[in-house]
Structures are given as C-alpha cells and as structure tokens.
C-alpha cells in the first residue's frame, strides 16, 4: 500500500509542479534581465484562455499552444512597451496586466461561449495524455507504482518543463546572449558601453518569458482541466513568483522550490481532515499558506540571503 501512496503523491507533485515551474522559469529570465514581472499570473491566465478557446474551436493541440504563446508574448510586449521603451513603473504595469487578464478573459468567454465565462472543453484527442499509457494507474510493486506511475506516466509538457530547467540554465550560464542578458540585469550601463542594445536584450528576455508563460497556461487547459474557467490560475502565478525568489533567481534552485511548493499542494489535498499522530489535525490553510510564509521568511534573511539582480526594476536611461 505504501508504494502506491508514494507513487501517487510523486505523480501529483510533478503534475502540479509543472505549470509553476514553467511560470517561475519565465520569471527568472525576465527578472535576470532587470525587468520585474508581477504579471506572471495574468499572462498564464490569458494564455490558458487562449489555449482553451483555440484548442476547442480549432480541434488542434498545436493551435491551442500556439495561441497561448502568442497571447502571452503579446502581453509581454505590452509590458516591455510600458516599462522598457517608456520606462514606466514595472510593478504597476504587472498589476495592470493581471487586472486586464482577469477581466478580459471572462468578458470574452461570456461573449463568445455563453457558459458563464467557461469555455467548452477541448476534445479528448486534443488533450495531452501520458506518453506511455502503461502506468496510468498506480499498479502493484515498487517499480510499477513509484517509477512507473510516479515518474513515467506524464505528458510531454511535464518532461519539457524539467528539460527547460537545464535549457534555461545553459542559456543563461553558458551562452553569449545569456551572459549579456544577465549583465543587463546587473549593470545595464556596462552592456550599453559595450555597444549592445539594452532594450533589445530586455525585449528578448520578455519574449522568452512570454513563450514560457504560454506553455504554463496551455498546460492548465490541455493537461489539467480540459476547459477554461474564470480565474483558474488561482494565484499560481504568485506562487511561481515566490518560488523564483525562493530559488534566488537561479533555474535549478527555482526548480527545487517549485517541487517543494508542488509537493505541499499535493499534500494539502491528501491531509484534509487527516489527523497526524502527535501533531493532531494540520489545518489545510496552513499547508496552503506555507509557500508564502517560507518566501517571506527567506526574503527577511532568516534562512540564507536572497539577492535580487542589481538593476531589477530600474528603467535604463541612456546618458547623453
């Protein structure tokens, strides 16, 4: 029985971690280039809506993902136009994106589909299913339950998300554009002096950010829920933000933070009303609040130090 429990907790941890991870990586890329991104939540929400609308009308997985990425990139461009080109306040712009996304997805959803803001579900053939169907249910035996159902039962986006951790790390730490992107988040004047365009780099970072947010939104619809419902992200974008800070703006630690928060989420569902010997019943709200508490404690410097990129949030003014 134990191996079945471990296997299914592992599987659900990976499932809920995936959108967090994609979104948190999006945050890492944007913030390492010096652009604060509070709009993760809104971009993921709007991307999920786009994936659901395009996926259900076009009966195509590719179309859904494409639409999601395009919408998220468009919102990233808007953020860039306000904050990079016109040096507006990055926090305010992020808040605006979240509000517009929360409102407009419902307005369009009700106008287009007349289902109280929901979209029709995407076809079963459009949904992303596990790469191998052999382990869809936790079987018996340690291998079947933990390795099979726990690790090998997932869809392509789950594996892609974890592969992208390595991808983003390689890009940031081992490539020339990645080095420049990090430099522009620490000392934009230096990058400018070297003859590289600061806005171009920041726009580039925002495009990667849009791509990743688009994937996160697609996952919610194409792998998790089948249809869009109002405010379906339910604060996941902010948990991703917290995970990014918890991971100190680095891909690998961010992944561990996402796994921790995903595990807490998976655990919260299972611990509902369960009494733990010695502790008693743990309130679900406490487990759900743990990511936020941990992030606050980390930011306050009680467990290690979280140092943000130096030029984070500062618009770059080219000196004459």
């Amino acid at each position: 029985m134990d191996e079945v429990l471990i296997g299914s907790v592992l599987a659900s941890t990976l499932r809920v971690t995936t959108p967090l991870l994609l979104c948190a990586l999006a945050g890492v890329v944007s913030e390492r280039s010096g652009v604060i991104d509070l709009g993760l939540e809104g971009k993921m929400l709007f991307a999920a809506f786009a994936a659901a609308a395009a996926g259900s009308l076009g009966h195509s997985t590719g179309l859904g993902i494409m639409a999601a990425i395009m919408v998220a990139c468009a919102l990233s461009l808007l953020h860039g136009f306000a904050c990079v080109t016109h040096r507006g306040d990055q926090v305010v712009s992020g808040v605006a994106i979240n509000m517009v996304a929360a409102g407009l997805t419902v307005v369009l959803g009700i106008a287009w589909f007349q289902q109280g803001g929901q979209t029709p579900p995407v076809d079963a053939s459009v949904r992303l299913t596990g790469l191998s169907s052999a382990y869809a249910e936790p079987g018996t035996g340690w291998f079947n339950a933990v390795i099979g159902h726990g690790l090998l039962s997932h869809n392509v986006l789950v594996y892609l998300a974890f592969a992208l951790v390595a991808g983003v790390w390689f890009f940031l730490e081992r490539t020339k554009p990645g080095l420049r992107l990090r430099a522009v988040g620490e000392n934009p004047a230096m990058v400018d002096a070297a003859g590289v365009s600061v806005p171009a780099l920041r726009y580039g970072a925002l495009m990667i950010n849009g791509l990743l947010c688009g994937l996160a939104g697609s996952y919610l619809v194409l792998a998790q829920n089948a249809s869009f419902s109002p405010n379906m992200t339910a604060g996941r974008g902010f948990i991703a933000l917290a995970a990014m800070i918890f991971g100190k703006w680095k891909p690998l630690p961010t992944m561990f933070a996402c796994l921790l928060f995903g595990f807490l989420d998976a655990l919260a569902i299972r611990l509902q009303g369960v009494s733990i010997p010695g502790i008693g019943e743990v309130p679900v709200q406490l487990i759900q609040a743990l990511p936020y508490i941990l992030t606050v404690v980390l930011l306050a410097g009680f467990i290690g130090q979280a140092l943000a990129p130096k030029a984070l949030g500062r618009p770059y003014v080219k000196e004459r």
Binding site: L38, L78, F81, A82, C83, H86, R87, G88, D89, Q90, V91, V92, S93, V95, A96, I97, N98, M99, V100, A101, A102, G103, L104, V106, V107, L108, G109, I110, A111, W112, Q114, G117, P230, G235, F238, L241, A242, I245, P283, Q285, L286, Q288, A289, Y292, I293, T295, V296, L299, A300, G301, F302, A308, V317, K318, E319, R320
Partner: protein, 370 residues
C-alpha cells in the same frame, strides 16, 4: 529621445494628462465592448443611468465609493512614503477580522454609541498591525515591500478562511461565515437614519462609513501637508538620503507610512463587515484593495483626487452591475478590464503622451510669445 525630464505646466500635468490617459483607457474599453457586439454608447448610457439615475443607484455608487476611498488613501499614503503597498487587499481582510472579533465579543454587552468607535479602532489597529510586519521586514531586514505585501494578501485570505472554518462558524452552520452580529455592532445605514427624520429613502448598503471615509481624507490631507510627522514621511519618500542627513530616521518612517496605510485599508472592514454584511464572510474585500491602486494613480495620490477617482470607480462598479443585467452576454468583469486599462494607461504608461503635450504646449507658447 533624450533623457531630459519634460516639464509641463501644472494644469496639464495634474489636470489634462490624467484625463487624457483616462480617455484612452475608456476608448480601448469601448473598443472591447464593440468587439463583443454591443454598442459602447448604449452600455455607457445604461451604466450612467444605473449608477446615477436613481436615489437607490446613487446609494450603491456611494457605498462602493466609500470602500475605494479607504483603499485609495491607503495606497497614496504609502506612496508618499516612497513605498508601494500592494497589500491593501490583505490589510482590509484583517481589518474586517478585527471588526468581527470585537463585534462578536462585545456586541451583546455594549450599546452602539460605545461599540461603533471601538469597531473602527479595532479595524484600524488590525490593519495597521498586518501592514507593520512587511514594513518591519522592509526597514530592518531588507526584504522587498511589494513581494512581502503580495504574500501577506494570500496569508490574510488563508487566516480568514482558517478562522471562519474552524472557529468563528456557528456549530451546524452550512455556509462559511460567522454568526450574525448584535444590532449594536451594525454601522447605521443611511436609509435607516433618514427614516428616523421622516425621510423615505430606498434601501441601499450606503452607511455612515462614508462620513468616516471623508474624515479620513481630511485627516490624511492634514497629516501629509500640515503636520511635522507628515513632512518627515514625505521627505523620506522623495529624498531618503537628504531626509536621513536631516536627522529623520527612514526606518521609522517606513513603519509609520505602512502603519497608517494599513489602518486606512483596514477600515474597509467597517464599511463591509459592520455596515453591510453584519457578519464576517470569506473574500468580502473582493479586489477593492487592488482598485485602490487604480484610484490612487488616477487621483494623483491626493485626497481630493482620490475622492473624485473613487466616485469614478463607484460609478463604474455600480453601473457595471446594471449593464450586466440589461445587456445579455455582457459581463460585469468588463469593469475589472476597464480598471486594468486605467492602471495601464494612467499608471504604467502615464508619461507616454507627455512628450506630445510638451511639443504642443511649446508650439502654443511660442506662438503666444511671437
């Protein structure tokens, strides 16, 4: 474009530019309305009629206005201290919790004239304490106020849910809300007061909290521009190094700015919990904390501007409900969209049009001079 600051005359900077930005936001919102197959003009007519066309509608509009004045002032006070308080939502939630705990504990014991001031005080103190923790962490531990206050929004929602589900819900109650308060813990509604003087008013959630909100505006104006403490706060907000050099402790000012900000946000609890609900509920703030950001941006962080902007958003919220009743397939979330567009154009992109106005103005001024 050169990096030099564009200097515009005050009437353009304070009057024309915000109105221009508001107009762009409204035009985009109108385009959205058009895109979903409705007439923007018809929607606007229904909206204005619903918000201002009847005494009852005006009552609802002013009730929304009350809440937005509190959250708008909260954002503004923090901004004058150089801080972006995005946690109005959480501070308002905890303020409502303060009202509820006081009302449930003392409601059966005290008469209204004694209890109501205590409720206001409790809302302010609870909101203040909830904002003081992120302020302390910012000033003494170096964590970023924006991130911490966001986290505290979620923590407030969790705390409220936990207390309601596990402690405050009456035994056997099905819905997640506290017991009803005693009558003495209810902020009197305006139509009830008017009835005492023999004036018949249709019932609306508008209550005496509006007076409290206007008093708060007067207090904030006096505090920021007439008091020594407010001067210290503003100097830290605009020039922290200079203020420090002049002997002002910036850390203390962070605490004062956020404390006052949290107290103002907490008073939303008086309007919503004591004034309207009469019991503690889940999610009663319903995004008003974020609307406060839009209100403060539109109102240029000044109490007079905040009253006007709160009225604008009051009209939008009340009118939006009416439009969603009248026009089939029209969602009241359109108001949230419009609010987001206002934050985008009047906040994040506030200076996009400034160069154009500068050019127009210099042309105009040159002509006059020649």
């Amino acid at each position: 474009m050169s990096g030099q600051a564009i200097s515009l005359p005050r009437w353009i900077d304070v009057g024309l530019l915000p109105l221009w930005n508001l107009m762009i936001a409204m035009l985009v919102a109108g385009a959205v309305v058009l895109a979903i197959g409705h007439s923007p003009l018809q929607a606007l007519t229904v909206l204005l009629n619903g918000a201002l066309g009847s005494v009852r509608g005006i009552g609802y509009t002013l009730y929304y206005t009350t809440t937005f004045i509190f959250t708008g002032l909260a954002v503004a006070v923090a901004i004058h201290g150089g801080l972006f308080n995005i946690g109005g939502e959480g501070q308002a939630t905890v303020g409502g919790l303060g009202v509820a705990l006081m009302a449930l504990a003392l409601g059966p014991l005290l008469p209204a004239p004694l209890l109501l001031p205590l409720l206001v005080l409790s809302a302010a103190v609870f909101g203040m304490l909830w904002a003081a923790i992120p302020a302390y962490l910012q000033a003494w531990r170096g964590s970023h106020i924006v991130i911490t206050t966001i986290m505290f929004n979620f923590l407030a929602a969790s705390l409220n849910a936990y207390l309601l589900v596990n402690w405050l819900r009456p035994k056997g109650g099905m819905s997640v809300e506290s017991a009803e308060f005693a009558e003495s813990a209810r902020m009197p509604a305006l139509h009830e007061l008017a009835a005492r003087f023999g004036i018949e008013l249709p019932s609306s959630p508008l209550n005496l909290s509006l007076v409290l909100a206007l008093l708060a505006c007067v207090f904030v104006a006096w505090f920021l521009w007439k008091s020594r403490a407010g001067y210290a706060l503003r100097s830290v907000g605009s020039a922290p190094r200079a203020a420090h050099y002049a002997g002002i402790n910036p850390k203390l000012q962070v605490l004062i700015a956020m404390g006052l900000s949290g107290a103002l946000a907490g008073m939303v609890g008086v309007n919503e919990i004591s004034g309207v609900q009469g019991k503690l509920t889940l999610d009663f703030v319903a995004g008003a904390g974020f609307t406060g950001i839009a209100v403060s941006l539109m109102g240029r962080n000044h109490p007079v501007g905040i009253i006007l902007a709160s009225l604008l958003f009051g009209v939008l919220y009340q009118g939006g409900v009416e439009v969603s009743f009248e026009l089939p397939g029209f969602s009241r979330e359109m108001v949230v969209t419009a609010q987001g567009l206002i934050v985008l154009f009047a906040g994040a992109m506030a200076t996009v049009s400034a160069p154009m106005f500068a050019k127009l103005y210099s042309k105009f001024a040159n002509k006059k001079g020649a």
